[in-house]
Amino acid sequence: MTTVILVAAAIGLLLWSRSRDRGKTRESLDIAKRHLVGIGPTIAAILALIGLVLALIPQQYIQSLLGGANTFLSTVSAAAIGTITILPAFVAFPLSASLVERGAHVVAVAAFITTLTMVGFATLPIEIRYFGRRFAFLRNGASFVAALVIALGMGVLL
């Protein structure tokens, strides 16, 4: 649904731009094209690599780690697993729910969701291309800590 809105917004604004100034519209499309050619293959390669890694890691292994008796330990390992892999939110939520059903702690699942979406070893090369090494490492490192803080807060509240 939001994808439809996003695509519609891009097309709508492009048409608006064209009605106002053809030259600027051409310039925009040129920039977008160079952008896609420049980074597209890298992103495609990384997505293929993630697909392979996910196929190699058995789901039972993730479940056994997150359902451990020690809440703190399973929270940290949940955050760590989320760091390596990356999943779209529409897969992450059902997966998390099935983990909770099988006995994973809510705090661990919260950490898992945060690092799963916000921290990514896999997407690091893309981030470095856009913002440089230092930015990418700092942001991912800080996000990992933030995930633990968020999980901790939720553990106190829930």
């Binding site: 994808t3 856009y130 800590v145 807060g153």
Partner: protein, 241 residues
């Protein structure tokens, strides 16, 4: 051939890995292809729209507008705007990079850019219904309650340890436009008089950027313009990685 391999190292490694897995275990190979297709489909749906939006921002939106809403002096309102922009957006985290990069170059503060990226990744308003359905309203509410302040705090912390100009300079300019040359060009009189010996202001700006020229070579620049050009060059003096 060797040149292609060097340029597309990652793609070649990935293809090789897929080949090895195909030989060793067909089941895993097919599962991997399934996963890949899921991700690639998401990318095909979202990424072109995102880079078109980023390009339109680059071309149409004047820097003072971005500065007003997302700049260093936008304050609390800027932070909330950043959370809002990130959280209503669709797509995985890498889709946030093109848009935030063009906002950063147009004058958004580093901390607001990090807030947008983080909110884009983890505060998913479009996914709220799914989250509530699977994990319950208590879980979703508590997660939002802690995540938003955590993101804002983290962004301020990171931005206090880095310079905005360094981040801009470190980014590869995927669309082939040098942000520094653009800034220099904007500061020049723009008469394209050729008094500096170059064909026009854009060529002169590129010369300045690469250290081949001095600001006073511009025939029409007064002291104020020269001072501005020097200030821009000084800010970006760090060699880009």
């Amino acid at each position: 051939m060797i040149d292609i391999i060097r340029k597309r190292k990652l793609l070649c490694v990935t293809l090789f890995a897929y080949g090895v897995v195909l030989i060793l275990d067909r089941g895993i190979f097919l599962a991997a292809v399934d996963n890949m297709w899921m991700f690639v489909r998401e990318m095909i749906e979202i990424f072109p729209a995102v880079i078109v939006l980023a390009a339109l921002i680059t071309v149409w939106v004047p820097p003072h507008v971005i500065m007003q809403y997302f700049g260093a002096s936008s304050g609390m309102r800027g932070k909330l705007m950043s959370v809002l922009v990130g959280s209503v957006s669709a797509g995985p985290i890498y889709a946030a990079f093109p848009v935030t990069q063009s906002l950063l170059r147009k004058g958004a503060s580093l901390s607001n850019v990090i807030t947008i990226i983080s909110a884009w990744a983890v505060v998913k308003v479009p996914m709220l219904i799914v989250e509530v359905k699977f994990l319950g309203i208590d879980f979703a509410a508590a997660r939002y309650l802690f995540t938003v302040p955590a993101i804002i705090g983290m962004s301020m912390l990171i931005s206090s340890r880095m310079k905005r100009e360094d981040v801009i300079a470190a980014g590869v300019h995927a669309e082939g436009v040098d942000a520094v040359v653009e800034e220099l060009l904007a500061a020049l009189p723009g008469a394209n008089c050729g008094g500096c010996g170059y064909s026009g202001c854009a060529a002169f700006a590129a010369g300045l950027r690469h250290g081949n020229e001095e600001p006073q070579k511009c025939a029409l620049a007064n002291e104020e313009v020269e001072r501005q050009l020097r200030a821009i060059l000084e800010r970006y003096e760090v060699p880009s990685a």
